[in-house]
Symmetry: C2
Subunit: 164 residues, 2 copies
């Protein structure tokens, strides 16, 4: 640890973290708090969609036949199956998505993007992508963006790995 | 852009992003989705606190006289004032925090951490910090952690700056 010479932060917030570690962690907390909110606000305002609704339809738009099993869709959107079910039901009500039993195995349910959903996605994408570019993609060098993605993968990988 | 030779991603998800940019962005989305949830789950399970409740009490514990104006506390926890008011009311009901009008200017309300809140924080901190260490602090090199914090600051700074 190159931070060995730093003394632990004073205060009860983050016992045993150095001031530098604490500052970096609080920056990550701010990012986790502010960025999803900002993306959500843009999509709600410009397209009447939440970030997770947009992501759900985007994942379907890239799947063969615009179709994914609900369990796979939950995985790809980092959502619980019950949360995803509610969300897909709302998208179904708006005519963007439909659900049906998997033809090859009736125990599974598929979600399918409908033409109206694709149209909605196409109309929402330019503003959304422009905003993501402004905040993130064009705001970091290509190398830093690449590393940020790697760091994110490393942290999420640790969430999924069992504790020692 | 060193990624100029990459062709735009095929699909409607993120028009005009290269595959590399899209992959990095989706990694950031996963981080934003999974990390707050994981931290929240640990705190709820081990201390019956949400992440934002913990952060709120932690910020108060580091303030002089364990006291902050509600507006300042909202700023430091990246929370809206109305959301913070609900949260502080719940913490008040549990005897961890109290609110009172600012003695120097009655238009402002202060939040004050109570001894029971400090005790709660002290009992919650070790498990919380150990988990943050495992997922983030000890999972990245000191240099990468520092850069991650800088990137996060850069993105949050852009959220706060007006669009062109």
């Amino acid at each position: 640890m190159s931070a060995a010479e730093e003394s632990p932060a004073d205060g009860y917030a983050e016992l045993w973290l150095t001031p530098g570690q604490l500052a970096s962690w609080l920056s990550v907390v701010r990012l986790m708090t502010r960025l999803p909110w900002a993306i959500d606000a843009q999509l709600q305002r410009d397209a009447d969609l939440s970030m997770i609704e947009y992501m759900t339809m985007a994942m379907l738009s890239e799947a063969p036949d615009w179709t994914l099993r609900m369990s796979e869709l939950a995985e790809r959107t980092s959502s619980s199956l019950s949360r995803l079910s509610h969300l897909v039901k709302r998208l179904e009500g708006r005519g963007y998505v439909r659900r049906e039993a998997d033809a090859t195995d009736g125990r599974f349910t598929n979600a399918i993007l409908l033409p109206a959903g694709l149209k909605k996605l196409e109309s929402a994408a330019p503003d959304h992508v422009a905003y993501v570019r402004r905040l993130v993609i064009d705001n970091l060098s290509p190398e830093r963006l690449r590393r940020l993605g790697q760091d994110a993968d490393r942290i999420v990988g640790r969430i999924d790995s069992p504790a020692r």
